[in-house]
């Protein structure tokens, strides 16, 4: 019991003043991934034409994806999958310089947390490691995001919410970042100065007194990382897939 309570009662440290630098941005660039939800059964024609807008599936919903294991598991925002009923879900993951769409299976969803776990039958050697669940992520810590719409061009920002160390019963935690997100960024990673995964992009809030929209905050969600890992392990066991970490 005490072990469960101690992390939440520890004193919040001062925020790490470091701004995510080129190394963190490189990690994000290597792992850029997208989700496409479409009636199409095959995206290879679109892919072969360099993802030209003219050849894009007209019915497609899309967002970003975040690889979190070497064997094809991705997190995304649940609302990206809102219209997936009767349609196909693809994850587009970079393999070297080549992006490839692969049909994905939905493993787990949480509407409340706006998180979903996807799996593709492919190796994903470039994936994110979670920032340590045993450490504080204080408000003001430097972060960047890796959403496909603005991740490559947006400036770094900071956490607007402190995240206490994770305890056994810690649930999915929403937190704020002061980086304006745009449609398409949902499901992308929020990454700290060390290139470690903090959470998953979810929503953006504006004030609109008249016509101009004033950015307020963006929202992301950090799941209980150990619980996500156990969901993945159970899925591997169900599908007779070995854990790549113990292969």
């Amino acid at each position: 019991m005490a072990a469960c309570l101690v992390p939440a009662c520890s004193v919040e440290p001062v925020a790490d003043p470091r701004v995510p630098g080129p190394a963190a941005r490189r990690i994000v660039t290597q792992r850029v991934s997208a989700v496409v939800v479409t009636e199409r059964d095959d995206l290879s024609r679109w892919m072969n034409r360099g993802f030209a807008v003219s050849n894009a599936p007209g019915d497609a919903d899309g967002g970003s994806a975040t690889p979190i294991s070497a064997d094809g598991y991705f997190l995304t925002a649940d609302h990206v999958l809102a219209r997936m009923e009767g349609r196909n879900v693809f994850v587009i993951y970079g393999r070297g310089a080549r992006l490839a769409p692969v049909k994905a299976r939905v493993v787990w969803r949480s509407g409340g947390a706006d998180l979903a776990l996807l799996h593709i039958p492919a190796k994903t050697p470039d994936y994110y490691r979670w920032s340590s669940p045993d450490r504080w992520l204080p408000e003001g810590s430097g972060v960047i995001h890796g959403g496909i719409a603005t991740g490559s061009k947006s400036e770094s920002g900071k956490l607007g919410t402190s995240l206490a160390p994770e305890a056994r019963f810690t649930g999915n935690r929403k937190f704020k970042i002061d980086i304006p997100l745009q449609p398409g960024d949902s499901g992308g990673p929020v990454v700290d100065a060390h290139g470690a995964l903090v959470g998953i992009n979810s929503a953006v809030e504006f004030l609109v007194p008249m016509e101009t929209a004033f950015f307020v905050d963006s929202e992301a969600c950090r799941p209980n990382t150990r619980r996500i890992e156990s969901v993945i392990q159970m899925d591997r066991a169900r599908n007779n897939r070995p854990n790549p970490a113990v292969e």
Binding site: S156, G157, D178, M210
Partner: protein, 145 residues
């Protein structure tokens, strides 16, 4: 630290000034304490107010009051000039102010910081639209559309 929202005192004058601002704030009444029905705070909530010194408008008094509570807001206004309009809103966590500068056709957003009593952050400038300019300029001249 980069970021969309910036602390004005730190941005223009360095940490020394920021430290001074924090000391001054210690003696100020909390913002929330004045947020009662019928108070100036509740009248200003979700409103866009004309800021005119002579004769002083409600928005002018409101900006003066807020500048005393949030010295960095006062510093911002001193540096950039008095805005033509002030919009105000808030929720249980934060209060937001939008400062409209019609001549420059720009606006800045300012927000309070939860757990950092008396401190504010700014973002902007945002370009304001032709429609917003026309509407606000009309109100300023007493000729609302």
């Amino acid at each position: 630290m980069d970021g969309f929202w910036m602390e004005w005192g730190r941005r223009i004058n360095g940490t020394g000034l920021w430290a001074t601002a924090c000391v001054l704030l210690g003696s100020c009444a909390g913002f929330d304490k004045s947020w009662v029905p019928g108070s100036a705070a509740s009248l200003a909530q979700d409103q866009i107010m004309l800021v005119r010194k002579e004769p002083p408008s409600f928005g002018f008094h409101r900006l003066e009051t807020q500048s005393r509570i949030y010295p960095d807001l006062g510093l911002f206004v001193k540096q950039r000039g008095q805005p033509d309009f002030l919009a105000e809103t808030g929720d249980h966590e934060r209060h937001y102010f939008i400062l409209y500068y019609l001549r420059e056709r720009k606006a800045f957003a300012c927000r309070t910081r939860p757990r950092h009593a008396g401190t504010v952050e700014f973002s902007g400038p945002y370009p304001i639209t032709a429609g917003e300019y026309r509407l606000l300029d009309g109100f300023r001249r007493g000729k609302p559309h």
